[in-house]
């Protein structure tokens, strides 16, 4: 299986902002935030088409998201997950003693995971906090 090593940034997008104000439990938020934006050449190097699920792994975690060609162009070697629940599954909590985690500029590996399921936001949070009871109380 091809694995690509990239530099990751996580920042705001207007689509994310709008969906966040609609509600983080909504389908809209799920659709616009569970994405990784990449350069077309990097997608090619992974041997996948747009809208294929991939596994993103960092030094502190992993997350399944859908790979797309970046709408705001990323140069080859750089990828972007919109800030929010999915991005923060892989953001390292180290702060360089400033209180601010490493939201931008951390190494990740990306590999195709076409069959893997993208987990909804509430399930990700509740599982991490040992409070998942097996059902989404806020249907999307």
């Amino acid at each position: 299986m091809t694995v690509l090593y990239l530099n990751m940034v996580t920042q705001r997008a207007v689509e994310e902002g709008e969906a966040m104000e609609s509600g983080k439990t909504t389908q809209k938020y799920f659709d616009v935030c569970s994405l990784v934006e990449m350069n077309a050449d990097d997608l090619k190097a992974l041997g996948i088409n747009q809208n294929t699920n991939v596994k993103v792994t960092s030094e502190c975690g992993e997350v399944i998201v859908k790979a797309i060609i970046a709408r705001q162009t990323c140069p080859p070697g750089l990828c972007h997950i919109r800030q929010g629940v999915w991005a923060n599954q892989v953001v390292p909590p180290r702060t360089q003693s400033t209180g601010e985690p490493q939201y931008s500029g951390f190494p990740v590996s990306i590999e195709p995971a076409p069959e893997a399921r993208i987990v909804p936001a509430v399930e990700l949070i509740q599982k991490a906090c040992n409070k998942w009871n097996g059902q989404l109380l806020w249907p999307m």
Binding site: G23, C60, L78, G99, E100, Q102
Partner: protein, 465 residues
Amino acid sequence: MKEVIKHVACPYCGACCDDLEITVEDDKIIEVKNACIIGTEIYHHASREGRVGSPRRRQPDGTYKDITYDEAIDFTAKMLIKAKKPLIYGFGSTNCEGMAAAGRVAEDAGAVLDNCASICHGSSFLAIFDTGYPSCTLGEVKNRADVVIYWGSNPAHAHPRHMSRYGIFPRGYFTGKGARGRKVIVVDPRYTDTARCADHFLQVAQGHDYDLFDAFRMVMHGYAADLPDVVAGIPKEKILEVCDVIKAGRYVHIFFGMGLCHSDGRNHNVDIAINLVRDINEFTKCTIMAMRGHYNIAGPGIVWAWQFGFPYCIDLTKGSHAHMNPGETSSVDLANRGEIDAFINIGTDAGAHFPIRSFEKIGGAGIPMVTIDPSVNMAATVSDVHIPVAIVGVETGGICYRMDNVPIQYRAVIKPFNGILTDEELFDKIYERMQELKMAGIESDGSWEYAAPLADVRPVKEAYE
């Protein structure tokens, strides 16, 4: 009957657009004019079905049961008294009145008081403490600036009307030609939608902003000949060209954003940006401003600096004096080390916006947790109690500070949904209940379940090897 309310200020980003026109009928919001797509969504969300109309308590099976405000206030007050180091974090989306009321509660409870700047422009504060803040108001940018630099910020997405109201397009007193009279420089590792509006786009290598600032400073100090051929991915010729544009400007303004604060270097990136401003002032007038995220995230910096002497990361647990030391008293670091034993998440969403490895040490540590927010957010889905409050700028007014620290009077356009309380009313009631409980003899006796020992955070060095 339809009513159009004019000059309404928007509760989304730090640009605080105060020219909105909201059409209201039967206490429902019908139409929103002049707002960006995100601001519009906030107003419509307020009138949508499915709002939470009452405080709720999490049950052992994970479901939620409605409780009264009195019960929710009692739970919160008791939690704050009993905890030894509670953390009250958030405040990006509330008014200054709510922040002041929360400050009083935090002082009485001996809590750590922190706001979203802690994970946003906190490192800008550190740089400003060290270097100063040669800033201005957004009005001055609009009326005077003919060279505008957006460095590591993407207002097209994060502050959608910033470019049209202040930065690039407006016609001001000395800038009558609007966009045609301004030179716009954008520095970003990605070719963002903001970069599309730029006359000069510098695609800096991610994490190398400091190098590029250094190159600019060398040119300003007269050492252009010593520059390497390429700095941070930018050719020397391009750097010299942009420096000429800056020197030729009558008034240069730099807006900087999360690209500096979230990358390696943090406060040092901002520090050198401010030093560059000082250098540019040898040639022409230059100012700098942080692109603050939330509409009132400048507010706690003002209110708490007045109350306690510090803008964020305020440790009040000592009881005798306030103490601020980011890295030690900052929310994410406190969470990483498992130092807190109770958590209030207000007007923000630590669940969605903290790294999960930090948040799981709050949400999964078995400590009591209260979320105060109008909507169901991620923190609310793992909190013991969720208390809904009125949305500032929609259901209640108040003072909010714009990104240039100018106070804006916000106003309510509809009544609070289901008669829910405002943040200020809620914190005042929590304070009153704390006094009653203390009179009744309840004290910090360690009877809460304290944070369990933590799994280690993997050392950075090991992770890279």
